[in-house]
């Protein structure tokens, strides 16, 4: 029984509370907005190649988000979620990991998948839910996943991936792999029971998992001061006896440094880490949301000044690793590519009707096969009512 901790406690004889905010949590900052580095800052391991890849991924992220929000407005896709202003959390996370590490994301971490090399076509096919979507057109836009790239398919119910990450990482460790799991979630999702279950399971069973909280100030309309009154999410890591780090989430170098350190610790010690990245959701929650109903333009404007992509660009310029000519050319090329990809993907067929019953189980049971046969007969009778599939039924 683990009672030593109580035996070592100082003893008092008058009742006195310890304050709910008595744990002081520093925030790691490495890169300033103007592109210079804080004095005494310890840099992450990053060379020109990694930096360039990271920056190009950030640029791709921003362009894709911009274009797809527009595509949604034009009615070309049904739904989209941008990560405007907090792209560094996902892109920097992936940049601090190795390719064999598992990524379990919430939904606003497309940047990590981009870093891993998920193709523009793959992104598009998912959003257009066509027959080339890896997820077979079953989930709403932005619910990406790729076994090959170690990126677990997104699930809408919040927080469910948190205890799963504890289990996944436990398996990685048991197999002796040089691999960890990173688990992303928002400060809102951190209120779910699954968060508490997952952190405690990982701490007790010593899973090499990096819990990465994107604290972007909002859960849809709910500001973080109505979400919790403790010292952010980081203080909870301390409560579960876990190594914990709070960072400036708009500082790509801080993100990479934190994840590199966490990865090294998780692999070596076989234990979990909690990172809380402080940021701001500059855009709407999703294309179904309008933030003017719950926050001010002034508040948003303040955060515009902390743009993580511009911050990295300034550093790249200062390093002499990037210039304005490259900048213009890159953004132009990305915009053209995305537009062209939209035009291709939206013309690809929807999945075939047979895909309705696959993957419910490893093999469709007879009852379900019967339902499909019945459906085909029905569609043949009313082909006009089912235009996506009628023409392709034999």
């Amino acid at each position: 029984m683990n009672t030593d901790i109580y035996n070592e406690s100082p003893v008092v004889h008058q009742p006195a509370f310890i304050d709910g905010h008595s744990v002081e949590i520093p925030i790691l900052k490495i890169l300033k907005q103007d592109g210079s580095i804080y004095e005494n800052a310890i840099m992450p391991e990053i060379d020109r190649e990694l930096a360039t890849k990271t920056y190009k991924t950030l640029a791709f992220h921003r362009v894709l988000d911009e274009r797809m929000v527009a595509a949604q407005r034009q009615g070309r896709i049904s739904f989209y979620m941008a990560a405007l202003g907090e792209e560094a959390a996902s892109v920097g996370g992936a940049a601090g990991l190795k390719d064999q590490d598992m990524i379990m994301a919430q939904y606003r971490e497309q940047g990590a998948l981009m870093f891993r090399g998920f193709s523009l076509e793959n992104f598009m096919n998912q959003m257009f839910s066509n027959e080339q979507d890896l997820g077979k057109g079953r989930q709403m836009p932005i619910h990406y996943g790729s076994n090959e790239l170690n990126y677990m398919t997104i699930s809408s119910p919040l927080g469910t991936q948190i205890p799963q990450a504890a289990g996944y990482a436990y398996g990685q460790k048991m197999q002796g792999l040089d691999a960890v799991t990173i688990c992303y979630f928002g400060e809102g999702a951190a209120s779910e029971g699954d968060f508490h279950a997952g952190l405690n399971m990982a701490a007790v069973h010593q899973s090499p998992v990096i819990f990465f909280c994107r604290n972007n100030g909002y859960a849809i309309s709910t500001p973080s001061d109505e979400q919790y009154v403790g010292n952010g999410i980081a203080s909870r890591g301390v409560g579960y006896g876990m190594k914990t780090l709070r960072i400036d989430g708009n500082d790509i170098l801080a993100v990479i440094a934190a994840v590199q350190l966490a990865r090294e610790y998780a692999v070596k010690e076989g234990k979990p880490v909690l990172i809380e990245a402080m940021s701001y959701r500059l855009g709407a929650h999703s294309t179904s949301d309008d933030p003017s109903g719950y926050r001010t333009r002034e508040e948003e404007a303040k955060w515009q000044e902390h743009d993580p992509i511009l911050r990295m660009k300034n550093w790249m310029l200062a390093q002499g690793w990037w210039d304005e000519v490259q900048e213009t050319a890159l953004f132009e090329k990305l915009r053209d590519e995305v537009l062209a990809a939209v035009k291709v993907s939206e013309k690809i067929d929807k999945p075939p009707v047979e895909d309705l019953i696959t993957d419910v189980y490893d093999q469709a049971p007879p009852l379900l096969q019967g339902q499909l046969e019945q459906l085909k007969v029905h569609i043949k009778k009313y082909p006009d009512a089912y235009p996506f599939t009628a023409g392709r039924i034999k």
């Binding site: 839910s129 809408s156 859960a219």
Partner: protein, 325 residues
């Protein structure tokens, strides 16, 4: 009478209750200042203050656990779960707590003042997790009432009855109809009975039964059938638990034919429960097997939603099959 859409009718019912009962409290994710992601609680915080209409942290088990406690204390909690698809983290609080509070204590304690509102159902390109109709899970739980309105008038009257009913009620709101369904709704207070189905169209050849958003689909199928000279009697079940066997059985006894339709998957859906009871009650009057027209036995799809759903054409086919059996 005023014209209201289904959301406005819900909002109006909540307003009515909060005005008359100062222990009535509305809460849930984004429910406060913003008025909920669908705006059902719009304006209530401004009118009744932050202590009676508020945002909760993002934790459904917390929302319903809190509501259970508040109800046990004698207040009137009206808790919102943002989507029925996200009610499952609260399943334990609802199934093991809300439903059994009274029974396990020998009526020493109860949470009868609890109402849980939640938008359910498909047809909005919502895919797996913004489309489900989970009423059958709750229908399997003695101690709960489960209510589903089909239009704004029904929504206000049934919600007021649910809130004032002295049992915990899960109130499923057809979100596809939130803005699409508009109708006359009295500004004044009124209630519609729980546990009572409603015959919405008299007919002689066949009985059609559904609830919530599926009513509209069934009515469309009945129009197609009417063009073939088939006279459909249409019933809205309205309350899933406890359900009105008598109204349905009387109708089927008269018509001798029965089609029941639900959005949820076929297997172990509430339509199956109804079919079993009606074949027992009406066995000697049945001219054809009872037909269930339901979602397929798969998760709710996205790209192939049209193919998956129990649409009016599938119901129309079932009607014709029954007539020619």
């Amino acid at each position: 009478m005023a014209q209201m859409n289904l959301l406005q009718a819900i909002n109006n019912a909540l307003d009515t209750v909060m005005a008359e009962n100062d222990r009535a409290v509305c809460f849930g994710e984004d429910v406060g200042h913003f008025g909920g992601v669908f705006r059902a609680t719009s304006g209530l915080q401004e009118k009744y203050g932050k202590s009676r209409c508020f945002n909760t942290p993002l934790v459904e088990q917390g929302v319903i656990g809190f509501a259970n406690g508040l109800a046990a204390q004698g207040s009137t909690p009206i808790a919102e779960i943002q989507f029925a698809d996200y009610i499952f983290p609260a399943f334990d609080q609802i199934v093991n707590e809300s439903a059994k509070f009274r029974y396990r204590s020998g009526n020493e304690f109860d949470v009868g003042k609890l109402t849980i509102r939640t938008p359910y159902g498909g047809g909005i390109a919502g895919g797996l997790y913004h489309s489900q109709s989970p009423e059958a899970y709750f229908a399997h739980t003695p101690g709960l009432k489960v209510v589903v309105p089909r239009n704004p008038y029904q929504a206000k009257g049934l919600l007021l009855a649910s809130i004032r009913d002295d049992n915990p009620v899960v109130f499923f709101e057809p979100k596809r109809l939130y803005r699409a369904s508009v109708g006359e709704v009295p500004e004044e207070d009124y209630q519609l009975p729980l546990g009572k189905a409603e015959v919405v169209q008299q007919g002689s050849d066949i009985t059609l039964l559904a609830w919530g958003a599926q009513m509209e689909i069934v009515e469309k199928a009945a129009e197609l059938a009417a063009a073939d000279g088939i006279s459909c009697e249409i019933i809205d079940l309205r309350t899933i638990l406890p359900w009105d066997v008598e109204t349905v059985a009387n109708s089927v006894t008269k018509t001798g034919r029965f089609v029941v339709s639900q959005e949820a998957p076929l297997t172990a859906g509430f339509a199956s429960e109804i079919a079993a009871t009606i074949q027992q009650e009406c066995f000697l009057h049945l001219e054809a097997p009872i037909a269930r027209v339901c979602g397929m036995d798969t998760p709710y799809p996205l790209a192939l939603e049209k193919e998956y759903v129990a649409d009016h054409l599938k119901i129309y086919e079932a009607i014709k099959n029954s007539m020619t059996y």
